[in-house]
Amino acid sequence: MNETITINKQKNKFWQKTYNFFRFVYEEGIKFPAYILIHPLKGFDIFKREKKAKISVALAFMFILCIVQILEVQFSGFIVNQRDVNDLNTTLEISYIVVPILLFTVSNWSATSFLDGKGKMNEIFMMLCYSLYPLIFAKVFGIVFSNVIIQSEAGLYGLILGFGAFLTGYLIFFGLISIHEYGLLRCLGSIILTVLAILIVSFTAILAYDLFQKIYGFVYTIYREITIRYL
């Protein structure tokens, strides 16, 4: 008797957990981003003030976009995608998503520190990831759509992807305004500064890479010299 109760309880617990999980996914992963999409200023206000944003959801969005990006190469219709699957480099595809987000987060944070931005770094990161929401949907829809179109309809496919990218940009823009509590002009200024910062960061990165290569080359030559001469 007792056993059945515990089993039932466990079962109930399991179902409860599953239900809670899907409820969480629906509430946080679909409903809230959709709310932001429709009411960007109000949505990002809730996002910031009520701390409704979750880092787990943000990471999930980034992860999903990475997956979708890879699927896009593999499963887009032949009409719009003549890339050879053998050329697919998943690491590279993932880095196309992750690196710009991280770069933008860091650069924006450093730029807005100058301009009295109220946003914290993790808020900027979460805002960027939440803004990917329309892009994910556009890409998924694009993959399906590209398989049922002919060449003359390829423009529509471009429109879908373009619309997704536009909405993402739109969300990022309003997100910046809300998170840093900026006006319009100030926001634009911060974006320009961010771009500058991105350039500086990437330049430094390339410089460092080159330097490391040189140091490596130097150490390697010494190693060769020693091995050939004394060993």
């Binding site: 032949f78 009409i79 049922v148 002919i150 060449q151 003359s152």
Partner: protein, 587 residues
């Protein structure tokens, strides 16, 4: 030990056999759909008996006359003419010795002509042309171009009217002194064709059946004498002279013809060195009418930008930017002219091969994976001018079914394209052997073979299609004729020989598309990387699917909708009434 001798000897023989087996290891390449080099066999290769030079026995005729090496130092042009009886005649001209060599279709030397007889009776009422006619005096470094009346005066002591008066003397009664010859000065082009004959008034001559009488003529580009000499194909007698034009649109320029073709009605299309306005078109009578097909140079943004800020002196110091001249031309059965030229400017390599319609517009089909432009991968920078830049085409030839081959003087390779603009195969290559093509100056189709004149090696090479090229040619030919199923069979053979040959899949797909097997056609077009045809096939396939499933799905949908509505209405009526009933009851 002794018992192993047999095995050792056998091994030795096997080894020697392996070494001395003639390996024709011509390793070629082709370009894949995305411009990468894929290794494949060459399309055309030179067999050992297809190499002809001054030392080959083919070049000595029955009378013991032969092509002498000192008279074959600068061969400039080769033309293959297919006579009515099916025999081929091959003409080669040499620009240093100014000799026209005549060979038969198997490259057996027939005879050579170094001067062309001119008779007064052919030039009655054409004294003005004769006044402009020029000939060569002296040879080697002393050679110079003189006018025809200077020739008469110096060599024969005659005036032009005396020459014209000789027309009344029957030819057989003329002495050797009364025969006159024109000599070419840098003979750099040869062409032969038939044109409808005309009488003195310019009306076409017809025979008793009402058909036009044709005259068979050889056209020679006499470069330093600034004229075209038209001679009879049988007796090499000068028939007509096309002197340098004196019209307004040619003022200030020098007429230095190098290559020419004529169309069916006798119009001449001439490439003249140093004329940047395009190909010169001459009428039947030798009147210059117009230019056609100019390679317009377009400056890049930065060139325009800097020119805007530079002074006139600075511009004068810069290299002059001129339109690109043509290097060779060929005419196809539909009277379209294929031309080649260098890259326009330094950057635009997409329009090096053109197909000009009679109006002068470029109508070349460029549906292939890439524009027809020879090598896709080349060095852009570097000190060596010879290695830098895109292919430098020096010759073009086209066959009966629209397949054209261009010769790249830079790499010594032949690039063959079909009517759609797909690269079929690449052959040849420069090197140190006799079979290599070092400086191709002229190529001509002989059936499926290509005869190439190599100025570098002073040789003529016969390129014969390899096994796979034979099949490719068949497939392209059937496709050109509209026989898609036969073409598809041949493309399947191509695939079985070389599965990497992407264009073959497109060919198979086209036939499947024609048979309404859209699914299969789609998969073939996908392998062949042809988006356009894939799209066409998919559209038809999609239409098929929609036509098949639209009616049932739509019907079921409508029925469900009606059923739902009906149920809803019924539900509403019933329950509302009950609600109303109970409501009333409650109250």
């Amino acid at each position: 030990m002794r018992k192993y001798y047999k095995i050792l000897i056998a091994l030795q023989i096997l080894f020697l056999g392996l070494v001395f087996v003639p390996v024709n290891a011509a390793v070629g390449y082709n370009y894949s759909h995305d411009g990468r080099i894929i290794h494949s066999t060459v399309g055309l290769s030179v067999t050992n008996d297809g190499i002809y030079t001054v030392i080959s026995e083919h070049w000595t005729n029955d009378k013991g006359d032969r092509v002498r090496s000192e008279q074959f130092t600068n061969p400039m042009d080769l033309y293959l003419y297919n006579e009515d009886d099916g025999e081929d005649v091959i003409y080669i001209v040499d620009a240093s010795s100014n000799i026209l060599y005549v060979f038969d279709g198997n490259m057996y030397f027939q005879h050579k002509v170094d001067k062309f007889e001119i008779r007064p009776e052919d030039f009655i009422d054409k004294e003005d042309i004769l006044l402009k006619t020029r000939t060569r005096s002296g040879s080697g470094s002393d050679a110079q171009s003189i006018t025809f009346d200077e020739y008469l005066e110096n060599d024969k002591g005659l005036e032009l009217f005396q020459f014209m008066n000789l027309a009344e003397t029957p030819y057989d009664e003329r002495t050797e002194d009364e025969k006159f010859y024109l000599e070419c000065f840098e003979l750099s082009g040869v062409y032969r064709s038939v044109r409808p004959a005309r009488d003195e008034n310019g009306t076409p001559i017809q025979n008793h059946l009402g058909q036009p009488v044709m005259e068979d003529l050889i056209y020679l580009s006499d470069k330093k004498n600034n004229q075209i000499i038209i001679i009879n194909a049988e007796d090499y007698r000068v028939k007509q002279i096309v002197p340098s034009p004196e019209t307004v649109n040619f003022s200030g320029k020098v007429f230095m013809p190098i290559k020419l073709v004529t169309d069916r009605i006798g119009r001449m299309y001439i490439i003249s060195e140093g004329v940047f306005e395009g190909i010169m078109m001459f009428s039947y009578d030798g009147e210059f009418t117009s230019y056609m097909g100019v390679n317009y140079l377009s400056l890049t943004f930065w060139q325009i930008f800097w020119r805007r800020f530079s002074t006139d002196e600075q511009i004068a110091l810069q290299q002059t930017q001129v339109n690109t001249t043509f290097t060779s031309l060929a005419i196809d059965n539909e009277q379209f002219i294929y031309t080649t030229s260098r890259a326009i400017g330094e950057n635009d390599d997409t329009r090096m091969i053109k197909r000009l319609n009679p109006h002068g517009d470029d109508v070349l089909t460029r549906n292939g994976y890439h524009d027809p432009k020879g090598d896709l991968i080349y060095i852009l920078t570097g000190g060596d001018q010879n290695l830098r830049g895109p292919s430098r085409f020096s010759a073009v030839t086209v066959n009966d079914y629209g397949v054209y081959t261009v010769a790249d003087a830079k790499s010594g390779r032949l690039f063959t394209y079909d009517t759609e603009g797909y690269l079929l195969y690449i052959s040849g290559g420069s090197g140190n052997e006799f079979r290599d093509l070092n400086d191709p100056v002229a190529i001509c189709y002989q059936g499926e073979n290509i005869i190439a004149l190599d100025r570098g090696n002073k040789s003529v090479l016969r390129f014969v299609p390899t096994d796979i090229a034979v099949v490719i040619n068949k497939a392209v030919k059937y496709h050109f004729e509209g026989n898609l199923s036969a073409s598809s069979e041949e493309w399947k053979n191509v695939v079985s020989k070389n599965p990497n040959y992407e264009y073959a899949y497109v060919g198979i797909g086209k036939s499947l598309l024609n048979e309404k097997r859209y699914r299969e056609a789609m998969s073939y077009f996908k392998i062949g990387h042809n988006v356009k045809y894939y799209s066409n096939a998919y559209k038809l396939y999609r239409d098929e699917i929609v036509a098949k499933y639209f009616t049932p799905i739509f019907t079921v949908g409508i029925i469900l909708l009606i059923a739902g509505l009906a149920y809803n209405t019924y539900h509403n009526i019933r329950y509302k009434r009950e609600e109303e009933d109970t409501g009333e009851g409650d109250e």
